[in-house]
């Protein structure tokens, strides 16, 4: 039996209620709500919960996808299908300046690429939409600096996060009042863990991008990590040739910047068992988190999600 199985029903139900409450509170306070949709498993879970929260209506906000143009191809196909099925509007934004300059993860380095194609792109899209309540699928257990994030996290007019200006959150009473230009990043999944997400996906039969399941895929090994060769834009190093390996992803980002793990887990039960036994952290495969010490905190202060 999988660890925690006997308890998971009741606690998933309480996590679900808590998340639905936060979604409704956000929408009740918002004049222009939006949900950032990253296509990953957490986004899938959040969208699923949003559909429940506002049933029988469709979620009363659009989905916003920041397209770096370096997502796995399978992800884009999945995104379009999912939004259509949920009956919500999908808004896609890419940083046109970055595209014109041809900013990419190979020639410009992961730090600059992430800044231009993700952080700047996000700021552009948020300014354009004038959103005041921005739902995101982040969890406190993902990364150390996120353990201190509020459920309703205040951002100034420049989308900056100031750790010392965050409002205390007591009980389930969220202070949603905003001055002009300010916004709130709302994390309804704050208290979920990676294992909770997988248990919920299994319990609710939520569809996720197939890249999460193990399969034979073409990869190269770089610095001890498996990088998938998703299309021919990826420059191969001298002597490097893609090999077929049985891999899957624990987290999905931009394909050259997200490393896969070797795995045989091709069912939800197997993935859950692997997650609970995991000895490595979930975001270890996210190369940008490790650019330098405290790098997630720095990115957040600049407006990264």
């Amino acid at each position: 039996m999988i660890r925690g199985d006997d308890l998971s029903g009741a606690w998933l139900a309480s996590l679900e209620s808590e998340t639905i409450e936060v979604l409704r509170e956000g929408v009740a306070a918002a004049s222009r709500p939006v949900m950032l949709y990253s296509i990953g498993k957490d986004s899938s879970v959040l969208l699923h919960l949003a559909r429940k929260a506002f049933w029988p209506a469709a979620p009363p906000f659009p989905l916003l996808h920041i397209d770096t143009t370096w997502k796995f191809r399978e992800m884009i196909a999945f995104r379009d299908r999912t939004a259509a099925e949920a009956g919500v509007e999908l808004r896609v934004h890419a940083n046109e300046d970055g595209l014109r300059e041809g900013v990419n993860p190979f020639d410009h380095g992961s730090e600059r690429y992430t800044d231009v194609m993700k952080t700047v792109a996000l700021r552009q899209a948020l300014d354009e939409g004038g959103y005041d309540i921005i739902f995101v699928g982040t969890r406190r257990d993902e990364e150390k600096s996120r353990a201190k994030e509020r459920v309703f996290s205040l951002r100034d007019a420049a989308h900056r996060w100031d750790p010392r200006a965050q409002r205390p959150e007591l009980w389930n009473l969220y202070n949603t009042r905003l001055a002009p230009g300010e916004s709130l990043r709302v994390s309804p999944l704050s208290n979920w863990t990676e294992a909770d997400v997988w248990r919920y996906i299994r319990a609710e039969e939520i569809r996720i991008v197939p890249l999460y399941y193990a399969a034979e895929r073409p990869v190269v090994e770089r610095a001890g990590r498996w990088i998938m060769v998703d299309d021919d834009r990826m420059p191969l190093l001298p002597g490097e040739a893609p090999r077929q390996r049985r891999i899957r992803f624990r987290t999905l980002g931009c394909y050259p910047l997200t490393a896969a793990v070797e795995s045989d887990a091709d069912t939800l039960d197997a993935i859950l068992a692997e997650t609970l036994a995991a000895d490595r952290s979930e975001r270890e495969g996210r190369l940008i988190d490790h650019d330098r010490d405290g790098s997630m905190e720095l990115k957040k202060k600049q407006g990264y999600f």
């Binding site: 209620s17 257990d141 201190k148 007591l170 009473l173 905003l178 863990t193």
Partner: protein, 611 residues
């Protein structure tokens, strides 16, 4: 319903600086295999740079996340961490020990079922320990574990442990906490934290983790009547109107008779949705959507309750506050109060006392500063459905929001209502305000003249009053100086008294508008929030804020009553414009610059805005 073991236990870990809180959490996470090997490698690398444990991995670095606090060596913000064992899932709030961050302790405690209070065996019970215990008790945390840490540094001396246990028991008893488990531990070595220690053969109780896994936390008493604050009204199309919220108490089933509070209308539950699934019944904690038949008027902030078990409704309370804002509490200043899903205007009318957290003494106080705990009288601008906090966290806990900065200024708990609004029913009036104004062939309204002393308010007010009277309108003039001789004779000029002064005048003006009159108020009213409060008493369009503007230099030169001269000599204190601020209106309905306009011109402009 008897006591239950919830699948998730939320606890808050508190203690003073350097008591080892972060190390305790780091150790729990590490020993429950919640720390991955890549994270541990990083910690080992960081330990050399920031750590305090020499070459050993400093487990505190697992939780001290932010760069700022690693450099300062203190935890500056509350952090939430999850971990699980085969028996239970835990969410722990790491509450900072530094005094100026006490508000975060309150935050962590507000959602906790249990508090682990850490005490350094070498230092014993400190003022901060008492403070945290009082906050925990105030926020309804009934279960406490006293973890006496760093026992290895006192050679596991049983006498030291026992004396700390006894002195802590005194504090706990005073604040009404009885369920206390004391455990001697060493976070550094993990002894009695996750495994029993051979170093203390005299201790035969559970480890901290074993206790957390098995402790029975009382749910709020069973058999409570149904209550659900309405968060959101879901209306996708004309045929569906659902009321969304989380069940705060009791249970509800299809067909149940319910009442909407505070309106008091009755209806029945036609259907219940939990998520997208239809259910016959829902219980406490469920996030539901109810439909009602017949459909009655329900909005966000209403509470749907069992029709036979009325919820209390009141607009005056005794409450306890933790002040969380740099700017101190001013008696009378209007704040926004958020109680369950409802936001109302609220003001503290009296500070009954401030609590000395180290000894529990009740001290007289005229203000509450950041991190102060106090008991106050609170008034709201409309009646709200509620339950005392001791009966329901969800219906008795609230926050106060500063109107100017939107900061969360305080957290509070309702002790009891001072006057039950339910007993003072609004009399239904057959003759309405509309009827009264129409009889007088006018639109009842309030013209609120604000500006510094000698800016020209009284002159303009008098002229306007005369002009309107000549035109056959029914008016009344309320003058700041005149009401001081009667209605407000008992008030002085401190900030608190001035706020009360404004409140009385605004209420009187509202009654007169209700009587169909055009009321002209001539009042310095220097604070924006107070003018906003006055406006909130009126219906949209009924309140005209008129800014009578002249510079300080000009006012001081006019000085018809010689007041500026006295204030500048220091003979009068709290004089607006001299040693007390005047907050200029940002968006007045009319702005009259009396340095440029003659009184007659001002009256012409005013007449136009009065339709």
């Amino acid at each position: 319903m008897g006591p239950v073991v919830p699948p998730t236990l939320r606890f808050v870990l508190c203690g003073s600086v350097d008591d080892g809180k972060s190390t305790v959490i780091g150790r729990l996470l590490h020993d429950c295999r919640q720390v991955s090997s890549d994270e541990l490698t990083r910690i080992e690398r960081d330990s050399a740079r920031y750590g305090t444990q020499g070459m050993a991995a400093d487990l505190a670095l697992l939780v001290d996340g932010l760069r700022d606090e690693r450099e300062q060596g203190i935890t500056i913000d509350v952090a939430y961490r999850s971990f699980e064992t085969p028996r239970r899932r835990f969410i722990v709030a790491d509450a900072p020990g530094h005094e100026q961050y006490t508000r975060n302790m309150a935050t962590g405690g507000s959602t906790a079922d249990l508090a682990v209070v850490l005490v350094d065996a070498r230092k014993g019970v400190l003022p901060q320990t008492a403070r945290h215990t009082r906050i925990a008790a105030m926020f309804g945390v009934c279960h406490v574990v006293l973890a006496v840490n760093k026992m290895d540094l006192v050679e596991w001396d049983r006498d030291i442990f026992e004396s700390i246990r006894v002195s802590y028991g005194g504090i706990a008893g005073e604040v009404g906490l009885s369920a206390i488990e004391a455990i001697p531990v060493s976070a550094l070595t993990g002894a009695n934290l996750t495994r029993n220690s051979a170093s203390a053969p005299w201790y035969d109780g559970p480890t901290l983790l074993a206790h957390l896994e098995t402790v029975v936390v009382e749910e709020s008493p069973g058999g409570q009547p149904f209550r659900m604050p309405v968060q959101y009204v879901n209306r996708p199309h004309a045929d569906f109107r659902g009321y969304c919220g989380r069940v705060a108490a009791g249970a509800v089933a299809v067909g149940d008779a319910v009442r909407i509070s505070p309106a008091g209308t009755e209806s029945r539950v036609a259907s219940i949705l939990v998520g997208n699934r239809t259910r016959h019944r829902a219980g406490r904690g469920d996030a539901v959507t109810l439909t009602l038949a017949p459909d009655v008027d329900v909005t966000r902030g209403d509470v749907v309750v069992d029709a036979d078990e009325a919820i209390e409704v009141a607009d005056q309370f005794q409450a306890r506050l933790v002040w969380m804002h740099d700017e101190p509490l001013a008696v009378g200043r209007p704040y926004v109060m958020k109680l369950h899903s409802r936001e109302v205007g609220a003001a503290v009318t009296r500070i009954r006392h401030r609590l000395d957290v180290s000894n529990g003494n009740e001290l007289a106080a005229s203000v509450l500063h950041l991190n102060d705990l106090g008991t106050v009288n609170l008034v709201t601008n409309r009646p709200v459905p509620f339950a005392p906090f001791d009966e329901s966290r969800a219906l008795g806990g609230f926050i106060l929001i500063d109107r100017a900065t939107n900061a969360t200024a305080a957290a509070g708990t309702i002790a009891f209502p001072l006057m039950r609004a339910a007993n003072v029913k609004w009399q239904h009036m057959d003759v309405s305000k509309d009827v009264r104004s129409r009889l007088k062939l006018q639109r009842a309204q309030c013209v609120w003249l604000t500006g510094m002393s000698a800016s020209g308010k009284s002159t303009i007010a008098n002229l306007l009053d005369r002009r309107l009277t000549v035109e056959g309108r029914h008016t009344y003039l309320l003058d700041g100086d005149n009401v001081r001789h009667g209605l407000c004779r008992d008030l002085g000029f401190t900030e608190a008294d001035r706020v009360e002064n404004i409140r009385r005048v605004a209420e009187v003006a509202r009654l007169m508008v209700d009587a169909g009159l055009i009321v002209i108020v001539s009042f310095i009213s220097p604070f924006r929030s107070e003018r906003d409060y006055a406006r909130s008493l009126f219906e949209p369009g009924e309140f005209k804020e008129v800014f009578v503007d002249a510079s300080l230099e000009v006012c001081a030169e006019r000085d018809p009553k010689g007041l500026y001269a006295k204030a500048l000599r220091g003979e009068i204190r709290n004089f607006t414009g001299v040693d007390s601020p005047y907050e200029r209106p940002e968006h007045p309905d009319l702005h009259l610059n009396t340095e440029e306009l003659s009184p007659a011109e001002c009256i012409d402009l005013l007449s136009h805005t009065l339709d």
